[in-house]
């Protein structure tokens, strides 16, 4: 089966789905139809992606084109295949989710059309065979995502969030173009595989320049700190499936870009390049999770957690590059593989969590942790599915997050193999940062699951929440995927190992999977475990006490009483931990980063000491917006004021500008 044809089928399905949506997105049945087709496209993409990552890079073939943009060239690569598969998974889950989530209507029709085209554009990015195709597809994808975020353009915060996305995305785009131009100019070709083949023609400094430009440019999309600010702004205002798509896939396209430059076009490079990338990743991971802990809006919280996970992935990539510099090809390939595995895992559970966030918002009308509570009783299905996703993202066995993070850690712990003490220390330092991140992530997701789902409802809406007529199939599918990616880890790793052979030329399989379902981090005699058997074991040890309890439950002398409450009349919702009080310890510990501002209003400040209402607020200072972006924005505004005079509005003047421009162009050409 040729993956290319399958992918072509997927592309066609999405195009068709877009047309259907435009034609009749107004009615429910047409919406269903659109989602069905889009889901089929997703399934096709999934199979095609897997196929291509197994089959290796296909040949480059031209699919028409024009004199303006040059020929449109496509190539299904193993590296892209991983992302294409993820794209398919996300598309299927979303397709199953959308019909119950969106009310049919004109807005919905347009939205779904845009969404399907965005899927198409993302696919194009992943199978782009030459620079122009890549750039065109990339820009299309960005603009369509901008429209996705603008689902409800009337609201001010929506406009703002969408603008943040667009502004940063375009800035990144310019840098990406620059990076590609350098490579194309040095290798005299636009074709990606040829660039990769002729990479040696590019001088060292140009390589570094190109890589740094690419890292920054794609970093904007991937959300590397401090280029991450669009995520927490754009995710909350987009519809649930929109933000799921952003976090589940679009962000990963940024990661894809980094991988393309770091491992395909410009493999290897000096150690500092890897160390720099690794450092950027580690910082991103730590800061991301710390900010997540300061959030009380579910979607902003999840957005920051996405930043954290991208940080983890990029750390793995950076470490891989470092190992390359020290001729540790095995670990190089191994860490790339681990990073890609984490890409897929994060794509699955983050999509799940965003979709469920949408369910919660629909059921309760709020995304504020401190207005929820006690949903586990009222929304059992949602709570179970979300719990699976939470275990996954908190990297707890037996779910997938654990496997990939374990692999990444095992790779980093082998920093000593570089032979350089400094580098070894730096790598282990990164590992330590990820360790801190992992701990905080568990803390953050205990909070992220416990506050909304456990305890007592804090508001009327939370008390009246119900999950009837709420979507369930999509998230459930992803929950299954989370389990499968963990239990089936050996199979997944085998597949990825083949992809690695294509990308890196290193064959990992024997070192990675010595048989009987055991995974070994690239070097024997270091460590090893079996995700499958771990899952089985965990199920067993949880089942065993349960069986014992059920078998030998004492009949007599057991007394179930109410919770001991100190004899108060009744517990009140205000008497439980809230999201912000739960994370107060981190606020205190890391206040250098948060710079929290506290405001207290209490009746008991009255001189007579009458007791009464208390209101206590802590606000986290948005450091990057305030100290990094605000000055930049100011500068641009100033610049705009400066150049305004040339905009007189006089047609003749504009004609003169055109003339002058042409003249200058000729002069340059003449020289």
């Amino acid at each position: 089966m040729n993956p290319v044809t399958v992918l072509a089928g997927a592309a066609a399905a999405w195009g068709l789905a877009a047309l259907i949506a435009l034609a009749g997105g107004v009615s429910r049945s047409w919406t269903r139809m659109c989602c069905l087709v889009s889901g089929l496209g997703g399934a096709a993409a999934l199979t095609g992606g897997v196929a291509s990552l197994l089959a290796g890079n296909s040949r480059v073939f031209s699919a028409g084109g024009s004199v303006v943009v040059g020929t449109l060239q496509l190539q299904a690569t193993s590296l892209g295949g991983v992302f294409v598969a993820l794209l398919g998974l996300v598309a299927v889950a979303t397709a199953a989710y959308v019909p119950r989530y969106h009310e049919p209507g004109r807005g919905t029709g347009l939205y779904l059309a845009v969404y399907n085209l965005a899927l198409l554009a993302s696919l194009a990015v992943l199978v782009a065979g030459n620079v122009v195709t890549f750039l065109v597809a990339w820009e299309t994808m960005a603009l369509l995502c901008y429209l996705l975020i603008l689902r409800r353009p009337r609201r001010a915060d929506v406009a703002a969030g969408a603008f943040w996305f667009l502004a940063l995305s375009e800035t990144g785009f310019v840098l990406i173009i620059a990076a590609f131009v350098i490579l194309a100019a040095r290798t005299h070709t636009m074709q990606l595989d040829l660039i990769a083949a002729r990479a040696h023609l590019v001088g060292g400094s140009w390589r570094d320049a190109a890589y740094l430009l690419a890292l920054t440019g794609f970093g904007f999309k991937a959300g590397l700190v401090p280029l991450h600010v669009w995520l927490p702004e754009a995710h909350p205002v987009a519809p649930a499936d929109g933000s799921a798509f952003l976090s589940g896939l679009v962000v990963k396209l940024g990661v894809y870009g980094i991988a393309v430059f770091g491992f395909w076009l410009l493999p290897g490079g000096p150690a500092w390049r890897g160390v720099l990338t690794m450092a950027a990743g580690a910082v991103t991971a730590a800061i991301g999770i710390l900010y997540a802990l300061g959030e009380r809006d579910i979607k902003r919280f999840l957005a920051f957690s996405t930043i954290e996970n991208v940080g983890i992935i990029v750390t793995a990539f950076g470490a891989a590059m470092t190992f390359w510099a020290y001729h540790q090809r095995l670990l190089w390939a191994f860490l790339l593989l681990a990073g890609l595995y984490h890409v897929v895992n994060h794509g699955s559970y983050k999509t799940l969590l965003f979709l469920e966030a949408g369910v919660i918002e629909h059921a309760t009308g709020t995304r504020d942790f401190d207005r929820l509570g006690g949903l586990a009783r009222r929304m059992p299905r949602t709570s179970v599915i979300t719990f699976v996703g939470t275990l996954g993202i908190a990297a707890l066995p037996p779910f997938n997050g654990f496997v990939s993070e374990w692999l990444i850690f095992q790779g980093l712990f082998q920093g000593f193999r570089t032979g350089s003490h400094l580098i070894a220390i730096l790598i282990v330092l990164a590992a330590a940062t990820l360790g801190l991140t992992g701990g905080l992530a568990i803390y953050a997701f205990v909070r992220g699951y416990g506050i909304p789902f456990l305890g007592m409802p804090r508001t009327r809406q939370a008390a009246d929440a119900s999950e009837t007529a709420q979507p369930v199939a999509g998230p459930a599918l992803l929950a299954v995927a989370c389990a499968a990616l963990a239990v089936g880890a050996p199979a997944v790793l085998a597949a990825l190992a083949r992809a690695m052979r294509t990308v890196t030329g290193v064959s990992l399989r024997p070192e990675l999977l010595p048989g009987n379902l055991t995974v070994i981090p690239a070097h024997t005699k270091f460590s090893g475990f079996s995700p499958t058997w771990l899952a089985v074991f965990l199920l067993a040890i949880t089942a065993l006490p349960l069986l014992i309890y059920l078998a030998g439950r004492p009949r007599a002398a057991s007394l179930t009483g109410p919770v001991w409450d100190g004899g108060i009349v009744a517990f009140k919702p205000r008497m439980q931990y809230s999201a912000m009080t739960f994370s107060a310890p981190t606020r205190v510990t890391f206040d250098a980063l948060y710079r929290p501002s506290v405001s207290v209003r209490r009746a008991s400040d009255d001189p007579a000491g009458r007791s009464g209402p208390v209101h206590y607020e802590t606000e986290v200072t948005p450091v990057f917006q305030r100290y990094l972006y605000r000055p930049v924005i100011r500068a641009f505004e100033w610049l705009a004021d400066v150049v305004r005079p040339i905009q007189s509005g006089d047609v003749n003047l504009y004609l003169f500008y055109v003339f002058a421009a042409v003249l200058v162009a000729y002069l340059i050409a003449a020289l």
Binding site: R574, T581, R610, S611, G612, H615, Y616
Partner: protein
């Protein structure tokens, strides 16, 4: 640790002017208690004048009413600089009266009580606190006057907590061996943002209970209002009744009471020390303090026949005289035990570090809320009824008022220790002067006409006040009990809120050493 020597004479010439400003007043200005009738129309202005008077503090405020007569509102002012109490009486025949707590914040708690008991409330829309009435639907209690018309409006319960904080419910059933008390502890996860107390689980309607009894019968219950430190309130009550009945206790009996009062102070300060050690987790220090405490209690039993000195005070004198021999024999040993424990504590840094800068209470707050006793003296405020309003035995002894600066737990602890030393000196001096049981005339004799009286004593927690009104048959028509606990609890939440965390609160509570029973009554 500073010591202030107060002179007993020297009356502020401004007092006459002040009183003249209050309109016609009953008794001569040179008596220890001055009563002035202030019409409600001039009440606000009068309160302003008195509050501005140097050394004046609002010591108590209460109302009384029979079923048909209008409510009479009484404000008791301690004119400490003039060594006198001033009682202003105003007849309130409306539902409302001027909001006095805006001028004298110390009146707030009493405004709430009066609202619950008599249904009259200060003008203005400011909400009141729930004091004695349980917030249980359909649960009503008999009142001293008439209950407020309709459900209590604007009474703060339950609490409302907003933003990034939550309420930590603690109690009413708390640790082992402590009284029932509900803490509404509002916290942001670490520090104490706000704190409010419910004490209605312990409201036994004491003042209601005393109505219609003879003073002597009532004394039995007064002693059991606050079992830890029973002597002070009992003496205050007895003194009030004696004033009403026109009795003049014999000097030796007065001294016997004073000895009991100082013993009472000693064992309570020892108990507070033990509680401080417990709250700081210094078990060995707690044991040392408890050895001292137990020896002091046994000394009480040896001297007066009761470990907690119940039944010592009697209307018109003292029912029991101290066993002077036992006191002379055992007091030095028992006190030495406490002294040694204290010295060791004062050199234990792990202990002092927890006390320092914990539960800081500003002198301004202490004055504003009308706090008394060691708590006020710990902020450097030298209020002590023994010095400011000396009763017979103390006038001769000129007790030293121990104060300390800082207002934190350590300051209060130092005050306790200094007072314990002073108490020992006072006991010895009074034993020299001679003590014994004795009673002025058969008590509770029907006086010709209804009469009333004010009594006070410096209990171990500070100034305890009592006011008694008797009918012509010598039975109580209205008895007002104001143990020191009633005033000092209102400083507790202030102390807790000053940048403290959860674990400081037991320490602060131990250093205040108050009883819930006393404030709930």
């Amino acid at each position: 640790m500073t010591a202030v020597q107060r002179d007993q004479t020297g009356r502020d010439p401004g007092l006459a002017g002040l009183l003249a400003g209050l309109g016609q007043y009953g008794r001569a200005a040179d008596g220890p208690v001055i009563t002035a009738d202030v019409p409600v129309t001039r009440l606000e202005e009068a309160v302003r004048r008195i509050a501005a008077h140097p050394g004046a503090r609002l010591a108590d405020m209460f109302a009384s009413a029979t079923s048909h007569d209008p409510v009479v509102l009484r404000l008791v002012w301690g004119l400490d600089a003039d060594h006198a109490y001033l009682i202003t009486e105003s007849v309130i025949d409306a539902e409302r009266y001027p909001p006095l707590s805006d001028i004298a914040p110390a009146a707030f708690h009493e405004e709430c009580e009066i609202y619950e008991q008599f249904g009259i409330r200060p003008a203005g829309a400011k909400p009141l606190n729930r004091v004695a009435l349980p917030p249980i639907p359909g649960f009503d209690l008999p009142r001293l006057g008439h209950a407020p018309a309709g459900p209590p409006v604007g009474v703060h319960a339950p609490h409302v907590v907003g933003g990034h904080a939550f309420e930590f419910p603690f109690g009413p059933v708390r640790q082992v061996g402590v009284e029932s008390l509900y803490y509404g502890l509002v916290t942001s996860g670490e520090e104490v943002v706000d704190l409010y107390l419910f004490t209605w689980h312990k409201h036994r309607g004491m003042e209601w209970r005393l109505q219609g009894r003879t003073p002597r019968d009532a004394l039995f219950h007064v002693e059991r209002t606050e079992g830890l430190g029973a002597v002070g309130p009992a003496w205050a009550f007895a003194a009030a009744a004696e004033t009403a009945l026109g009795l003049d206790p014999p000097a030796q009996a007065e001294r016997a009471r004073a000895v009991a009062l100082e013993l009472d102070r000693l064992y309570n300060h020892a108990a507070a020390t033990a509680a401080l050690c417990q709250s700081t987790g210094l078990v060995i220090g707690q044991a040392a303090a408890e050895i001292a405490l137990e020896r002091l209690l046994r000394l009480n039993a040896a001297a007066f026949g009761h470990r907690y000195l119940f039944g010592v005070v009697d209307i018109g004198g003292a029912a029991v005289g101290p066993d002077a021999a036992a006191l002379r024999r055992d007091l030095p040993g028992a006190y030495g035990e406490l002294r040694r424990a204290a010295d060791a504590l004062l050199t234990t840094n792990s202990f002092l570090d927890r006390l320092e800068a914990t539960g800081i209470l500003s002198q301004e707050a202490a004055r504003r809320l009308g706090l008394v006793g060691p708590v006020a003296r710990g902020t450097g405020l030298p209020v002590d009824a023994r010095a400011d309003h000396p009763a017979v035995p103390y006038a001769a002894l000129a007790p030293i008022v121990a104060t300390a600066d800082g207002g934190d737990v350590l300051a209060r602890f130092r005050v306790l220790l200094a007072e314990a030393a002073e108490s020992v000196r006072l006991i010895e001096e009074m034993l020299e002067a001679g003590t014994g049981p004795g009673r002025a005339g058969p008590p509770g004799h029907p006086s010709a006409a209804p009469a009333s009286g004010l009594g006070w004593a410096e209990s171990c927690r500070g100034e305890a006040l009592a006011w008694v009104a008797l009918d012509d048959r010598g039975r109580i028509t209205r008895a007002r009990l104001r143990p020191a606990s009633v005033r000092n609890w209102r400083g507790f939440d202030d102390a807790c809120r000053s940048q403290n965390v959860f674990t400081d609160i037991p320490i602060i509570e131990a250093s205040f050493w108050l009883t819930v029973a006393g404030t709930a009554r």
